[in-house]
């Protein structure tokens, strides 16, 4: 069944057969991994590919917005990740320590990720647009030992360093050795002495590999802890769902500061020996189409927000480019609306295939397979080996009625499932009910077994495919001198699906104004990130609260979505 991806049409029967016969040992066998033996993602994605005779194959074509270009073979990736690993070992980094990657999409990010894993340390990638407060809470929680960054982002690390006693090293990848201040160190990947042989740390299946932070409704972001065995899922789903084949040129739009950018922007393609391309540039339709054309991209993994931005530019611009190399399109981050699927059919002659998964799952879990009939707007069906259902919101029992809404739930046990939240057992245990893992989303299942997304089951805001926690925003809002109370909720948006809207009451002496609104917006953008910045702030006299004084975001959110608020009996009257 390893040819599932190449079926012209996967019939319902063949899908059932695949599921019946499926075992993750298929991937273990293809990766030549035997249970109990060491397994290291850094080695799997570089040395192993070279051993398979692909040392000279291009692993990465990189380009930035200025047109600077770089090219790395798998042997380059092997040697340079060794070089990275040796440098970290020489600094005294020990297996299990957390090393943060805080960079734009530069080659050092991709190769350094493998280098960290080769030492046995844990890679902690963070989105480089995070502000100092977002950086601080994540480094504090992870007790991070080192941060690898660039000159343009280092000021944020310097700002919070004194509050991070465990942070021993700030490493700059683009600084001149002579310009680096005390307590910081320069590492120039390509001019450092190349390390041909590095003793890769013998991590095992359950050794921690990657720590990705994700937001919840309450409290600060949680560190989702992955293990080296996750490569088994990431390898196979990249092969079967993204349909990666030996001659493909693959482009994943995601930033490795988020899980898609590591699972399918590094581990998935490189464990398959696939050539990938990276464009370190903000969104620009012309630039993107040029890149697709010039790089002859055949498999493109994008996101609904990007697709909707491209839709705005129309199909004429598409016709001006030769995109005949495109063979397969997939999307992730938030539900792909039917219009976007139909538009891609018109624009590219093929649909985007929606994939559903999250930081905690580590790999695609519900999806539209290549060849499978796409129902525009549907999430697709569970990947073989993933038992998925929807649960009743009260009993947490699977719903058997076709089309009824429930909580998306997965039976635990697939290889890339997180093993816990970093130092947060309570939060992790709360994700399970009746033996099911709860994704935090609602959906229904139709008579053909296709899942249909309905929305989040909590107050987390999904903006442009990224989850933003209201608590973090509200905490930062309260740091502004004018803000007395605050609530952050989702507001519908035609491009990003949702954006952040904040409701704010002001302290005595402050008056609502456009100036104040802009000041607060910029305060959040700099402290947290542009994603967390409220796109609108509504100044109100009071916020809806329970009798115990807890702010009820549900009331505000429902108002934004024009949905019925439901039971208001617990809301305090003013």
């Amino acid at each position: 069944m390893s040819h599932l991806a190449q079926y012209e049409e996967v019939t319902a029967k063949s899908y059932e057969e695949v599921c019946m016969e499926f075992d993750w040992s298929i991937a273990e066998h293809e990766l030549d991994y035997k249970r109990g033996e060491p397994i290291n993602i850094g080695w799997m994605c570089s040395d192993r590919i070279c051993c398979l005779g692909m040392a000279d194959k291009v692993a990465l074509y990189w380009e930035d917005y200025r047109g600077n270009k770089q090219r790395f073979t798998f042997d380059d990736v092997r040697v340079l990740s060794n070089t990275f690993a040796q440098f970290l070992c020489d600094l005294g980094i020990q297996p299990g320590e957390r090393v943060c990657l805080f960079m734009d999409r530069v080659p050092e990010l991709y190769i350094g990720f493998l280098g960290i894993l080769k030492t046995g340390a844990v890679a902690q990638p963070l989105f480089s647009a995070f502000g100092d407060e977002s950086l601080l809470v994540r480094l504090q929680n992870a007790e991070t030992s080192a941060i690898i960054t660039q000159k343009k982002h280092v000021h944020k690390a310097r700002k919070v360093r004194e509050q991070l006693p465990g942070l021993r090293h700030i490493i700059l990848v683009d600084a001149d050795r002579t310009q680096v201040p005390p307590r910081e160190v320069a590492f120039h990947m390509e001019s450092a002495p190349r390390v041909e042989d590095f003793p890769v740390y013998p991590t095992t299946a359950e050794s921690p590999s990657v720590l990705h932070y994700t937001s919840g409704t309450t409290g600060q972001p949680k560190g989702a802890q992955h293990v080296h065995y996750s490569v088994v899922s990431q390898y196979l789903t990249a092969k079967w769902v993204l349909d990666l084949r030996p001659d493909d040129i693959y482009w994943c739009n995601a930033d490795p500061g988020w899980v898609t950018g590591t699972s399918y922007g590094i581990i998935g393609p490189w464990s398959n020996g696939t050539t990938q391309v990276v464009l370190d540039s903000g969104f620009n339709a012309e630039r993107w189409y040029d890149f697709l054309e010039k790089r002859r991209v055949s498999v493109w993994y994008s996101a609904p927000t990007a697709i909707r931005l491209l839709m705005k530019e129309g199909t004429e611009i598409v016709r001006r480019h030769d995109l005949s190399s495109l063979r397969y399109l997939a999307s992730v981050g938030e539900p792909l609306n039917a219009e976007a699927v139909l538009w891609s059919q018109e624009a590219f002659g093929k649909p985007f295939h929606d994939t559903f998964w999250q930081t905690e799952t580590g790999c695609i879990v519900i999806t539209n397979f290549p060849g499978m009939k796409v129902k525009p707007g549907s999430m697709g069906r569970p990947f073989p080996g993933i038992a998925a259902t929807v649960l009743d919101t009260k009993t947490y029992e699977p719903i058997t009625k076709t089309g009824a809404a429930g909580l998306i739930a997965l039976r635990p046990g697939w290889p890339s499932q997180i093993r816990g939240y970093w130092k947060n057992d309570v939060g992790f245990k709360a994700k399970f009910k009746n033996g099911w893992y709860l994704c935090g989303d609602r959906a229904s299942i139709d008579s053909d077994g296709y899942f249909w997304f309905m929305g989040r089951d909590d107050d987390v805001i999904n903006t442009g495919g990224h989850l933003v926690g209201p608590f973090e925003i509200e905490s930062a809002l309260l740091e502004h001198p004018a803000v007395s109370e605050s609530a952050a909720v989702a507001k519908p948006d035609s491009v990003n699906m949702e954006v952040v809207k904040a409701f704010v009451t002001l302290k005595r002496g402050y008056q609502p104004s456009d100036d104040l609104e802009l000041e607060i917006m910029n305060h959040i953008r700099k402290r947290l990130s542009p994603l967390a910045m409220p796109q609108e702030i509504e100044f109100v006299d009071s916020l809806p609260k329970t009798r115990s004084g807890k702010i009820v975001r549900r009331v505000l959110r429902c108002k934004e979505f024009n949905e019925p608020v439901g039971d208001l009996s617990t809301i305090m009257d003013d």
Partner: protein, 88 residues
């Protein structure tokens, strides 16, 4: 450098360029493509322009392309300055 160009350029440098980012911002520096301003931050830049010049920029015109350089932003502001001011 005319007044709008200076105001926009200064605001971009002050609000969006990170400390230590030594890139020079000229009238043609790529702001969106270059990752200095992203599509989310564009909203706060739009708010600033609307407030500063008492104009309304419709969402349909606030495209990544229109916000990609100081020059294109100035063009956008001038275009909407010609229309009736807000509240007029």
């Amino acid at each position: 450098m005319d007044d709008i160009t200076k105001v926009v350029r200064d605001y971009v440098i002050r609000e969006y360029l990170e400390e230590g980012d030594d890139r020079e911002i000229t009238e043609t520096t790529r702001l969106i493509t270059g990752g200095i301003v992203d599509s989310f931050s564009m909203v706060s830049l739009k708010r600033f322009l609307e407030k500063k010049y008492t104009i309304r920029i419709p969402d349909a015109d606030a495209t990544p392309d229109a916000f990609d350089t100081v020059q294109s932003i100035v063009g956008l502001v001038q275009r909407f300055q010609k229309t009736a001011p807000v509240g007029a």
